[in-house]
């Protein structure tokens, strides 16, 4: 998606997403109208992080393709990026959270305000 068409559709273009992932410690990328992105956001908010939420269109590139590492991994939307790295989908986020791994990772990425 080009920036122009994305802007017209009201969603973020691939490039926008890539930039956000690099710049922001926590990014949640979800499809338009997807409620699960909001769930991810709430969860992260609860931990003290402030995630940026971006909506992409239906024909957006696979999240894995947006970052260099973990290329080829199939990840469903919503996709969570922490510290510029793809963490995974919502279920991965949940698993990390339950296992107690989420907070350390967030801290490491400087996403938490302590």
């Amino acid at each position: 998606m080009t920036r122009a068409t994305a802007a017209a559709a009201g969603v973020a273009a691939d490039e926008e997403v890539r930039r956000a992932v690099e710049e922001k410690p926590v990014v949640v990328v979800g499809r338009r109208g997807c409620c699960m992105a909001q769930v991810a956001r709430r969860l992260l908010l609860g931990q003290g992080a402030n995630p940026a939420v971006l909506e992409v269109g239906d024909d957006a590139a696979d999240p894995a393709a947006l970052v260099s590492d973990k290329a080829g991994a199939v990840v469903a939307f919503p996709a969570v990026f922490i510290g510029g790295r793809l963490v995974g989908g919502l279920d991965r986020l949940m698993a990390m959270h339950i296992a107690g791994e989420l907070v350390p990772v967030l801290k490491q990425a400087g996403a938490l305000w302590l």
Partner: protein, 534 residues
């Protein structure tokens, strides 16, 4: 036929003073009906007005009522509906008279076939020949029998012993009240003598009398021999009847079990759930899931037994650990089952049709709420090290947060869905609403999100269990899985008890009882009817 009956009655009345007491007299005497075998009056004509040709089953029911109400009808009110044949009701009245004297459990079956038996054998013994004037009565009596249902059978078996099925119909009190020569393989003339006396109590003195009037010269021997033979016969009869009865009970019990199982299966598939489910018929995926889930439950109980055994036997951690691993895998299997159904029929999972009512109370997003389960388990898992306590506490907090996030997301979805469905004006229906189809399409999309929510909730549950497994030692984990299994087993047992609890209110409201509880109504109705007479 009526004539024949009348004549036979009259003849019986004239020749045998120990004859069947007429129905009204018997009723008038109440419990003493049988005691004094007084001279019988001619039975009232009303006796003979009805054809004893009713269907055996309906007849049986009427007779049971007669047995129960017999004692109550001491005033002598004769219910015409109860009169189908002279024999039968005489017997029933007199038998009812025995109710006070005999243990209630024996008065289970009506007595009239007994009389048929006697007539049957009177038919048999005709060849023996009796020189007394009772023979003519005998000749007419079998005719009377031919018109009644049992005798239709009996007549075809004139030369054989009565079948056990027939015997089941006979009152056992007959054996005790008087020792009739029933089903004699070799009808003796003594027996056929007794067939002239269908009903009387304290039989011995009657037989003695009979012996004295009938047979001169062979009195003592005949009497003793006869009595012995009768005793033997009676005992044998009793045994056969008991056997038949028990067999009947057994088959009924098995049948009842089968029906209950079928019902349980149907219920678990939601077929009887107060009508049909909102989505219509149970989908095939749901039906398959229900079967698999039932199998999973069977496996679950086996695992619990293994766990319990392993803990009690104080197995080594390595061995117990294997059992615990298997339990963990067992739960993973269930999550797998649910996940595959969620793709096709998430509503079956979300509405909890697969679960029992008590489990459904606690349903959160189609399953257990992790933080609730942890609260229960924490109490069961003592003692824990400090580190473990901390770990469990953190786990509880994390799951609460995740549940909160999911819950809020679901709330948002509900709101959004409601807004979509209510879009535009609600005063018009389908075609009248502009963009109706697009409205529906959007709503469909949103509804599909429910699947994602369910998947995430199940994922949360699975992760919680795995984390528990990581925190706890082998023994603690074993106790943990055992606790979880037992907790849900109890909830299921609670549901069972709930659905089979007696509910008197059904008697008054049986016409409006909901379909799902129909089985309860049918189940408890007969109980009430039994006691209504007392």
């Amino acid at each position: 036929m009526v004539q024949g009956e009348e004549s036979s009655w009259r003849m019986a009345a004239s020749t045998h003073h120990e004859r069947a007491i007429p129905l009204n007299q018997a009723l008038a005497y109440g419990v003493q009906a049988h005691a004094s075998a007084s001279v019988a009056a001619t039975p009232p004509a009303s006796f003979l007005d009805f054809q004893p040709a009713a269907a055996a089953a309906a007849y049986f029911g009427e007779l049971e009522e007669a047995l129960i109400h017999g004692a109550a009808n001491a005033a002598g009110v004769v219910d015409p509906g109860m009169i189908r044949g002279g024999d039968v009701h005489t017997k029933s009245a007199a038998t009812a008279g025995y109710l006070a004297a005999r243990p209630p459990t024996l008065e289970i079956f009506p007595s009239w076939p007994t009389r048929q038996q006697q007539q049957l054998h009177s038919g048999n013994s005709q060849s023996v020949g009796s020189t007394t004037d009772s023979s003519s009565a005998q000749n007419t009596m079998p005719q009377m029998e031919l018109v009644s249902p049992a005798s239709i059978r009996a007549s075809s078996e004139q030369q054989q012993q009565p079948q056990p099925g027939q015997e089941v119909m006979m009152v056992t009190t007959d054996d005790y009240s008087y020792k009739p020569g029933l089903a004699a393989a070799s009808p003796s003339f003594q027996q056929h003598q007794l067939q002239q006396q269908p009903l009387h109590g304290g039989g011995d003195h009657d037989k003695r009398k009979l012996g004295s009037t009938r047979k001169e010269g062979k009195l003592v021997d005949a009497k003793t021999e006869r009595r012995l033979a009768q005793n033997r016969e009676a005992a044998r009869k009793s045994r056969l009847r008991k056997k038949a009865y028990v067999q009947n009970l057994e088959t009924s019990r098995v049948r009842l079990q089968q029906i209950e199982q079928e019902l349980q299966r149907a219920r678990s598939q939601g077929l009887l759930l107060g009508g049909c489910s909102a989505a219509g018929d149970t989908s095939s995926g749901a039906a398959v899931f229900d079967m698999e889930y039932a199998r999973w439950l069977d496996d679950d109980s086996k695992r619990l037994t293994e766990l319990r055994g392993g803990l009690q036997a104080h197995l080594l951690d390595t061995n117990l650990g294997l059992i615990v691993e298997e339990c963990m895998q067992h739960y993973d299997e269930l999550f797998q089952l649910k996940a595959s159904l969620a793709r096709s029929d998430v509503f079956h999972l979300l509405t909890g049709t697969w679960a029992t009512p008590a489990e459904r109370c606690f349903l959160w997003m189609g399953g257990f709420r992790p933080s609730d389960l942890l609260k229960i388990l924490i109490q069961q898992l003592d003692p824990l090290t400090e580190q473990q306590m901390l770990g469990i506490y953190n786990l509880q907090q994390s799951s609460e947060q995740a549940e909160e996030a999911l819950g809020q997301g679901l709330q948002q979805l509900h709101q959004s869905l409601a807004d979509t469905v209510a879009a535009g004006t609600l005063n018009n229906d389908g075609p009248g609403v502009p963009n109706y189809m697009s409205l529906m399409a959007i709503a469909l999309d949103k509804l599909a999100n429910l699947e994602s929510f369910y998947q995430q909730a199940d994922n949360l549950r699975q992760q919680t269990l795995h984390q528990l497994h990581r925190i706890l030692t082998t023994r603690q984990a074993a106790r943990c899985f055992l606790s979880i299994g037992e907790y849900y087993r109890r909830l299921r047992a609670l549901s069972n008890l709930w659905s089979s609890r007696p509910c008197e209110s059904f008697i008054g409201t049986e016409s409006v009882s909901p379909p799902g509880t129909e089985l309860q109504t049918m189940h408890h109705q007969p109980q009430q009817n039994q006691y209504s007479g007392f």
